[in-house]
Subunit: 227 residues, 2 copies
DNA sequence: GTTTCTTGTGTACAGTTGTACACTTATTTT
DNA sequence: AAAATAAGTGTACAACTGTACACAAGAAAC
């Protein structure tokens, strides 16, 4: 005998998994139909309504699931402990690995951030924002880049996260197991993040210099006309 | 009397514009139907087939149109000539302005890069890649960052473009004419690009140092365990 | 001026969509 | 044990989908 609430959770999960499967097979979430999701889950169309009023509502539930995955990733990354010298490349590798391990959820995330309902877009942005905040907290805790203001640390976190996440679709689009391509993306991304942190290490000093330069130059503007 | 080919081009454009309008109103391109596009264009559903065999094919035509817009933007940016001291903030402002001027095409681009058909995703990536290449060419022509290798310049271009384009959806999602929000995004993005170029100015020197450091450290690894 | 070609229309049809309503079945509550 | 609740089914329907086919109107070619 199976409890009623267990049964309910099972088919709920089954519905969500079916939607993700359809997304992983190349469909866009917003072009899915309630009926094909239900069919895929082996359930009558009307059963859907016992769980969600809408595909939109189900989308938000999937966004939550993605949020859980992100938190899991962060926890694991911390537990494993990152070597100080290879922190950046390790983190990038870690991310790439997880994208390949959970292609459906990451595909869904990438789709939703630009193409979901307004509520979905906001939800996904919040998840990534939270990820960026956690990163900044860690940097502060480690005493890395102590010379940067709070606002600028947030700017930096946003930049780093966006850079890494920006590769998601490209990773997912690679033909199955073309390892050299993946390696190229991994390397490029690592370099990019490294360059970002290199810039960050000079940030405040240099930015003040730059400010003064701009003030001076605004009187006598040097212009570049290209070509 | 109107020439036959003119008439054809007119309704073709009308179809494409209708699709863009529907996208701008919040629909995802891949959830549009041939019939609603035709209806919006004031044309019988079957007329669609005289121009495209598919909504997918029309999508590629729209991608071309976006490419044209990008080229126009680049040309205009060059003609206007950028002041050397405010090159970065000017470029960011220029981009933000154009996103607001052509919201439909940019929304379409943002949707398609993560959510279009495989062919569409590739097309959009190519357009942005071309944009990045042009940027790198300009930097070389101006003699900026001459110490960076070709590969790394491409990496840098990709990073800069991705950073700027990453703000597109966020800009488009802002409530109509909330100028202070736009200003915040503009500032953050400018800072990010500035930070990137700051990192780039130190790139080669520092990266060699870092390489050596990693080699040394790989024997005696310092580990951070957070919390 | 006649024929041919091309763009767009109208009708038709089978398949799919979301959802309403009445139902079964099985678990919980009483 | 009876009654109530809840999850899932089956049928039904009107709206919409892509597209095939025959056709109209006018421009282009001859």
């Amino acid at each position: 005998m199976v409890s009623q609430v267990d049964r309910k959770l099972i088919t709920r999960k089954s519905l969500m998994d079916s939607a993700l499967a359809l997304v992983a097979e190349g469909n866009h979430y917003s072009s899915l139909s309630l009926r094909e999701v239900a069919k895929r889950a082996g359930v009558a169309p009307n059963a859907f309504y016992r769980h969600f009023k809408d595909l939109d509502e189900m989308g938000l539930a999937l966004a939550d699931e993605f949020g859980l995955l992100l938190r899991l990733i962060m926890r694991q990354a911390r537990l494993q402990g990152l070597a100080a010298d290879s922190m950046i490349s390790d983190s990038v590798n870690f991310y790439v690995e997880y994208v390949q391990k959970e292609p459906a959820l990451f595909r869904f995330m990438a789709q939703s951030i630009t193409g979901g309902s307004p509520a979905m877009r906001e939800a996904m942005r919040n998840e990534l924002g939270h990820f960026a905040n956690e990163m900044v907290t860690d940097l502060n805790r480690l005493g890395i880049l102590p010379h940067i203001s709070v606002t600028d640390m947030n700017m930096l976190g946003h930049l780093a996260i966006q850079t890494v996440f920006g590769n998601t679709t490209e990773i997912l689009d690679l033909p199955e197991s073309s390892d050299n391509m993946i390696e190229a993306i991994r390397e490029r991304c690592t370099k990019q993040v490294r360059l970002i942190f290199l810039g960050a290490s000079d940030w405040n000093v240099q930015s003040e210099k730059q400010q003064k330069l701009e003030d001076k130059a605004s009187r006598k503007k040097k212009m570049f006309k290209i070509k």
